[in-house]
Symmetry: C2
Subunit: 331 residues, 2 copies
DNA sequence: AGTGAAAATGTAAACGTTCACATTCGGGAC
DNA sequence: GTCCCGAATGTGAACGTTTACATTTTCACT
């Protein structure tokens, strides 16, 4: 029964019922235009033959594939990964499917190549998950034929939606200060990442507004090991009583280094992270952090690239959720 | 300049050069059949017009889209997410793109719906990321028209590739025993997950082969909070000197609960997790765990669903990587 | 200069839809 | 019975490729 025959087409259904292919098409697209009795016959034939509309043929005629391209950095980091999952959900709920293309920002030409491939597959629009600034800039002009939105970063000429990471960082630092911190250091994310820049900005502004001196800044690469390294460097030379770390993994590394150095968190030093990774609620100590609203960002992006969307080129910020836990509440 | 005109087609290129559309087609598909001089002219016209082959039209004729469907549970857990990323990479390297469809295993009819959508989009094949056994079973017969592979689980009638989680679990427990453990408890993953079952099996077999009595088994849901809960339950009643936890997040929860109960890891109790989440190397204590080989699994799956693959319905296991850290080495 | 085969190019049809029409059907008003 | 109008259905062409085959050109060899 594993017949190598091609799947049934509209014509096959039409022939089975004794109507024209156009009637079958109408049953699918404008059922109200076809008489009840014939419609039922057609629907039954569809079921019996196991007919499925061929969306490739449909796409050829209508120039719409109902596919949305998602370009994401291949880093494997928490944020981009979550964003991709949220985008798929949003697209699915909007009746579309997602073509995923990951890009290694380190490889020359990779972003251009990603666009090339999406254009070829005929996606109706694209969402760039762009925590790296260079990403958006690698877009080439011919892309103007399809709507584009940017998730989690600045969009240049395209509409962009992101969590208000600066705001969340600001509030986290404010919180640290409210709990007695006078010298708040910062372990930042790598240069070139929008997320890193915003979180750093929030830290800086919060300190300024609190009338505190600027704290020590160390630059990390998001990795836990790198956070531990930063923690050691802090211990070696800096004066500080709190650390705002740009993501949870590095924060755990910092805490580890402090613990090894005999410094207690939150007893001696307060710590806050960012991302709310799944383990953040059970570590020793439990980690104060902020969670992004990936679903809201994704919904906005999908809406922006759907047909008939009036997309203005600005950046729209959505609030983060602050989560206060042991690591920042003082002893 | 934002002309709403349709993108150039082969015909446009042909006309620009003064050849027939077929010559343009040949330049793209069988360049050796066309004279050097005309080929260059055509290639230049392609560049100047910004022509891109329309793969929708090509797909209609050839019945191949170069798209591969990936069905994954929407859980957001570590394993499935990593698997999806690895599959995208493998597909990309094989010249294909990935259509991602996430499924909520809890929603009735969701798996069937996912298939329906993939079939509609005309994917050439599909890979099911199937940590849940029910997933694979929800496949319906009409799917026989396209090649299918299963990543990270049993495949039923389809070829399946997965990390040897039972083996890794076995070795982890063996390691715990080698470091003095006599009563190894297990915090398992939820029923219905292949990963959970395999890890549990490895634990059970290792204990049996070591001549040790069966340990206490608690069932969790993969979440860190649930792990903490399990840790409390262990403390409340069980006798144990080591815990093998089915994933790292729950393991951290267990460790947290033990710490709160005044039990030191690894001083009093040894702990091993599974997954090697990014933070596992810096927690207090650093976590002994096992990392899956997602890339190898993905490569195998993509190869299996590519044309001309002789796919036998078995399950092929690939080795995991064991990572021994503080949490299991004794004091 | 003429032949023939190989190289280069062209034409027709098809893939499975949808769009824009054209045609037929049914039945109430005259 | 005829006419007309809306409802129901049918026909032809097009979307941009590829496949299969037909035709023209090129050129080495006689």
């Amino acid at each position: 029964m594993t017949s190598p025959t091609r799947p049934p087409s509209m014509n096959d259904v039409a022939r089975a019922v004794g109507v024209s292919y156009q009637t079958v098409s109408r049953v699918l697209n404008e059922p109200h235009l076809v008489k009840e009795s014939t419609r039922e016959k057609v629907e039954q034939a569809i079921r019996e033959l196991g007919y499925r509309p061929n969306s490739v043929a449909r796409a050829l005629k209508t120039a719409r594939t109902d596919l949305i391209g998602v370009i994401a950095p291949i880093t494997g980091h928490f944020g981009p990964t979550k964003a991709v999952c949220a985008l798929e959900r949003a697209a699915r709920e909007a009746g579309k499917a997602v073509v995923l293309v990951q890009v290694d920002p380190e490889v020359a030409g990779a972003p251009e190549d990603a666009w090339e491939r999406l254009l070829r597959y005929g996606v109706d629009g694209a969402v760039v998950v762009s925590p790296c600034l260079s990403f958006v800039r690698a877009l080439r002009p011919p892309v103007h034929m399809m709507p584009i939105a940017v998730a989690g970063g600045e969009g240049g000429d395209w509409p962009a939606y992101a969590t208000d990471q600066r705001g969340a960082a600001y509030e986290l630092v404010e919180h640290l200060v409210a709990h007695g911190a006078k010298r708040v250091a910062h372990v930042a994310g790598p240069l070139g990442w929008w997320d890193a820049r915003e979180r750093e900005r929030g830290w800086r502004e919060a300190l300024a507004d609190a009338g505190l001196p600027e704290g020590c800044l160390l630059r990390g690469d998001w990795s836990a090991e790198n956070g531990e390294e930063a923690g050691k460097r802090l211990l070696a030379g800096e004066e500080f009583d709190a650390v705002f770390v740009a993501n949870d993994q590095m924060a755990l590394g910092v805490i580890r280094a402090l613990a090894d150095g005999g410094v207690s968190v939150p007893g001696d030093v307060l710590v806050a992270g960012f991302d709310d990774i799944p383990a953040a609620g059970v570590t020793v100590p439990r980690l104060t952090t902020a969670g992004q609203n990936f679903n809201a960002v994704a919904d906005a992006c999908i809406a922006a690239v759907s047909e008939g969307a009036a997309s203005s080129p600005g950046l729209e910020l959505l609030p983060a959720e602050l989560i206060f836990r042991e690591s920042s509440v003082g002893k």
